[in-house]
Symmetry: C2
Subunit: 190 residues, 2 copies
DNA sequence: TGTACATCAGTGAACGCGCGTTCACTGATGTAC
DNA sequence: TGTACATCAGTGAACGCGCGTTCACTGATGTAC
């Protein structure tokens, strides 16, 4: 049952996208290879034709997830009206829609403490992705010296990550919303 | 080999403290019952004399961890010189010592994304703990209306949690330090 | 262009392993008289 | 205070289960002539 090169590439892409979503939804540990492959419409045995280990899949799907987050930052920026750029990004990132959509959202918010314990390759991919996002945010402070803008971007991004994580953790919906809205308000004064 | 009530209570406390540290160090999933019990000087079978499940242990040890974090906030406040209260707390929380001490530090920073997926009892314990910390921070804004102070405290705490998480995740030591120091600096302007 | 053969994507059974949990048992502790 | 008995903290083997990974196999695809 060998597949054509094109089909093979499509399969790999499909597995990666499933993994990127399932890891963020259920957590890295809880998302098993067999489950992921089944969701992708395959049996588990074929997994190792595409990836040499689960760790490699984690690293690559982390890159995918950060990439689509960077895209959503850019989309938010393209739609911004009179707001500053950071406000446009924060409106999106700190929304209830993002809070309620682990699978499609920021991997740092949904997997932060699991990524800390991942292998070096994954953490390096994550670091690169984090810096890419920091750069996008830093560009939104055009009247600030570059180093200072980067510093502010570091703070803004990690604050947003912490806010979404905590808004998902707390059981009180009102508190959850307040964490998001207060952070949004504070970032507007940045 | 029944033990006296006092010994029993001490055993329970010992297991709880081991768990509170090991969960934060290795992650909830990776810290197994048998390992925890061995570290506490016992075999795994006796675990269920003290706790009805691993989930219950997670919830109780989360309370322990948050409690000791609240204590460290108070200790920092008692030592503050001319700084504001938030600065004293942030100096401690955003230190490299805290970053490098998962096992003895903030459970939200070390377990955030795992706690999001924990059972309701654990998330409720975590929520209560979060609010306790928020209250301590809110008291450091005496010239601010109570609701506004609470809002600022929500933002400050979740920003610190995000900062420590990200400072542990990134592979570049310089970047890691910058996340901590920039967040500290920004909170000083709160 | 047609044929023979090597390649390899995907299948599904099997592997070893560690997990949370259960259980029969032991023997010191606590209790009832 | 002393004795007989119930309790139960802790032991260690065993349970079922799901995990990541391996492997022999299948058969369509890609390649060499």
């Amino acid at each position: 049952m060998k597949k054509s090169r094109q089909e093979t590439a499509e399969t790999r892409r499909r597995v990666l996208n499933v993994a990127a979503a399932e890891f963020r939804r259920a957590g890295i540990n809880a998302a098993g290879i067999a489950d992921l492959m089944a969701t992708a419409g395959l049996t588990h045995g074929g997994f190792y034709r595409h990836f040499k280990s689960k760790d490699q899949l984690v690293a690559e799907s982390c890159a995918i997830a950060v990439g689509s987050l960077a895209d959503s930052f850019k989309t938010a920026l393209s739609k911004k009206g009179k707001h500053g750029g950071l406000e446009a990004i924060a409106d999106d990132y700190l929304s209830k829609r993002h809070r309620d959509d682990c699978a499609g959202g920021c991997p740092f918010a949904s997997l932060g403490s699991e990524l800390v314990r991942s292998d070096n390759a994954t953490r390096e991919v994550a670091t690169e992705g984090f810096l890419k996002l920091v750069d996008i945010i830093a560009e939104q402070f055009p009247r600030t010296r570059p180093e200072a803008a980067r510093g502010r971007a570091l703070v803004a991004l990690s604050a947003m990550i912490g806010a979404v994580t905590m808004s998902r953790l707390v059981t009180d919906p009102e508190l959850s919303g307040a964490i998001l809205s207060e952070t949004k308000e504070r970032l507007a004064k940045f």
